[in-house]
Each structure stands twice: as C-alpha cells, then as structure tokens.
Symmetry: C2
Subunit: 245 residues, 2 copies
C-alpha cells in the first residue's frame, strides 16, 4: 500500500450497536467493497445517538480520511438525528430536497406522507442524493461524507449506488495461509518475511475451530507479484519449521 492510497472511515451511529443488541455487519461489507476498489478502511467509530458525539466524531474523521461513510439514524423517528447533526457538523441548514420529495411521493400515497416521513426528504444544503431502491428515503453525500441507512439491506444497496463515484486505487489483494504451528513458534520467521516485503501487511491471527487452535497468516497489499513471492517464501519456511519441530 502506498502513501497516496485513498483511505476511508466508517461512523456507525446507533445505540443498538453499542448496547450489544444488534451485531454490526456493515463494517465488514463496506471494508471488502472498498478493498476491492483500492481504498483502505483506516478507522471505524461507533457512537451513541447524541448530537455532540456524532458531530465531534464526524469532524475528526472527515478531516483525516479521503472518504467517510456513516450508517444509521436517517429514518423518520425521534431517534433519527443523523441528518440534522451532519448539517450541524458542516454548518449547513437542512432543507427539503425536491428529488427526495418526489421519491417519497412515488412511494407513499398522500395521506401517508406525514410530517415524520417528510423529514426523510430533508438534507443539508448542497448535499446530493444517494438512491434508496428499497424504501425510497434517500441517503446523501456532502463533500467527502456519505450518509447511508443502517439497515444492512439498504446500506448495501446505497453503497452499490455510490461505489462508481469513488476515486479508488489499485485493488487491495490478500493471500491467506493456515498453520497448526503456534504463533510463538513462527514469530521470528514471520518477522523476517515481513521485513523483506515492506510494502505488504502481514497479519497473524490465532483462532480456535471446534476447540483446535491454529493460526491464519494474512498477507495484504496492492502488489500481486510481491504477495505471491511472500506467500511462497512463507509457506516454504513454515514447512521447514514443521519438519524441524
């Protein structure tokens, strides 16, 4: 990965994730899509449905990374405060967007388009809409910030809509090796392979599968040839270690 590889952060807005009630799945989905587009997921934060906390996190992230994605809090209920707080973070007023209104009007009969639902047609001034093919209420983009729904099915559909807008880099690839050797046994070998392939990130992840321990070795980077060479070298070194163990 080079220093000019684009970076991204995810800001998850939602008490339901922080309470442990709901298991987030948007991070892994987004990270995989971004990696394939050559964009590094560099940080994720999960904050409560509190304006000051959302604004502080959003302002820190949008200054630090190429792109910021938010999820959660853009529905019609009292706890959906994301649109208002994103507006506040940018110092922009919230206004009804004519295309968002049209999308909602195409989905709801007039008697159901009440005040709560009309809230979903309002976005910060200057924002462009992100289509929602599932339930019509759009997300929006403001500068480098993409405001998406939290429901995974809608989050994923919105992400598909915006991926072509992102300036990516060289796709980030990975190679994975598994070994039954313990981390402490392979640590010195891993260090020396990492040192020789400085453009790659080599990670070592111990696991238990049905109670049996093992280690996954994951090599990540944008240089396919280096990934292949490092994998072959590491595989050979592990085989030698195993024979000697």
């Amino acid at each position: 990965m080079t220093d000019n590889t684009p970076t991204a952060a995810l800001l998850i807005i939602g008490n339901e994730i922080l309470s442990g009630r709901t298991q987030d799945t948007n991070l892994a989905y987004l990270a995989q899509k971004l990696g394939a587009a050559g964009i590094i997921m560099a940080e994720t934060r999960v904050v409560r449905d509190k304006s000051a906390e959302i604004i502080a996190a959003l302002n820190a992230l949008r200054r630090a990374y190429t792109y910021v994605f938010t999820c959660g809090g853009i529905g019609p209920t009292h706890d959906d405060i994301t649109t208002a707080t994103v507006g506040a973070a940018f110092g922009r007023a919230i206004k009804q967007h004519p295309d968002a209104l049209k999308a909602l009007q195409s989905h709801y009969p007039p008697e159901l388009l009440n005040e709560a639902r009309l809230k979903m047609a309002a976005v910060p001034e200057g924002a462009t809409l992100i289509e929602n093919p599932v339930s019509k209420a759009p997300g929006f983009r403001l500068e480098n910030v993409f405001v998406l729904a939290g429901v995974p099915r809608i989050f994923q559909a919105m992400l598909d809509f915006i991926l072509p807008q992102l300036a990516g880099g060289i796709p980030i690839e990975s190679r994975t090796l598994s070994t039954a050797l313990a981390e402490g046994t392979i640590a010195a070998t891993l260090s020396s392979v990492q040192a020789r392939f400085a453009t790659l990130d080599i990670g070592s992840y111990p696991y238990f599968r049905q109670g049996v321990p093992g280690v996954s070795l994951v090599l990540r980077g944008t240089d396919s040839a280096a990934l292949d060479a490092a994998s072959i070298e590491l595989e050979a070194a592990l085989t030698a270690l195993k024979a000697g163990a």
Copy 2:
C-alpha cells in the same frame, strides 16, 4: 440512565477487523456484560495496527470514559504492538512482570519459551495482570484501561476475570416490542412516549426478516417501573394505531 452512570469504551486494535476479513463479536459481548453491570458502553473505535493511531485513540478514550477496554495485538508476533503502544500512551516503560513470566513458564517447556513468547511476559510498569485461563499469556490493567486479547474465547475469559473489579451502577434493562406498522406511521406516537419517559432511551429499529419488514422498539434504562409503564403505554398506543390503520 443518570449522569453518574459509569461509562465505557472499547478500542479494537486490528487490521483484520478493518479489512472485513474478521467479523468482530467482542463489542456485543462486552456491551451486554457491561449493561448488566450498570455500565454504559458509550463509544467504540476500531483502529489499525499503527502505533500513532492506537495512542491517539487510547488517550482520547481513557480521558473521556470511566473504563476503556482494548482487544487485540497482545500476542507474540511482529504485528502485536498493543503492549508497547499502551506503555507509550501512558509514558511508562515496558518490563517483564514476574507473575506473567511464571504463568508462561507453567505453560511452556523451557526450550519453547523463546524471545517471541517472552514478549508476552512484558507489561507497562505499574500494570496489574489479567489472568488468561486459555493460553496463559496475560492481559493487564493500567489505571482505567484494561488490555485484553482479541480472540473471542480469550477475551471473554479475561472479561469474566475483571468484571468483579469494576464499580458498576444500576443494571441497564430493556424491553422490546415488535410491530408490523411502519416507522413513519408510529413516529409521532413514539415521540410522545419518549417525551413522557425522559429517563428512558427509546429506539426504533426497522428490519427485514425473510423479506418482511417490521420494526423493533427497544426501551432501555435503569428504572424498571418506568420501563414497564412505558412498555404498556406504547403497546396500547400501537394497538390503537393498528385498529385505526
């Protein structure tokens, strides 16, 4: 929840979570345990295996919340930099801890206790150890920061060890109602119930189950009587809305 309810944050250290390769489950587990102990999970951050980023996040979180938990990066391999960075964040030297050494010596025969494994006996000066019944290499506590393993099985065992050390509050309880009514239909009702029960957090979470939409309404707080009263009131209001729909 009152203003003096203890708060907590989780700092997840790990490229494997940010790359989307591994699905985090430690947040939900920790949040549920803390909620039962009357401690609010207020924020979570996921950062890369980079010293400067870990230090910045840790210093922000440990000043903002009663307790901070970290997970990941305390093993023997080159990418395990958590202990060193936590030491740097506190300005403390890293030293071998005699009890940690003993724990490792009880687990490994001398010929396997190599330099990589000995790294796991070192903790910042002044830290107290957190037992690891699974693989012996301990975590540690330094002031309000608890440094735990990332592997869920070990994370959970370490958490069980430290939970009795935490000064908790009144357990946070929840009540959940489900409805087939849409969020836009129930929004005004929800707002008015939330307004009358200001000590509770009422969240509205739309979902699709086998393609069928619904909404979960979750009431959270420390006041059992208020939770019961608000649930009954909300249930009755939803029944009335449904009859009128």
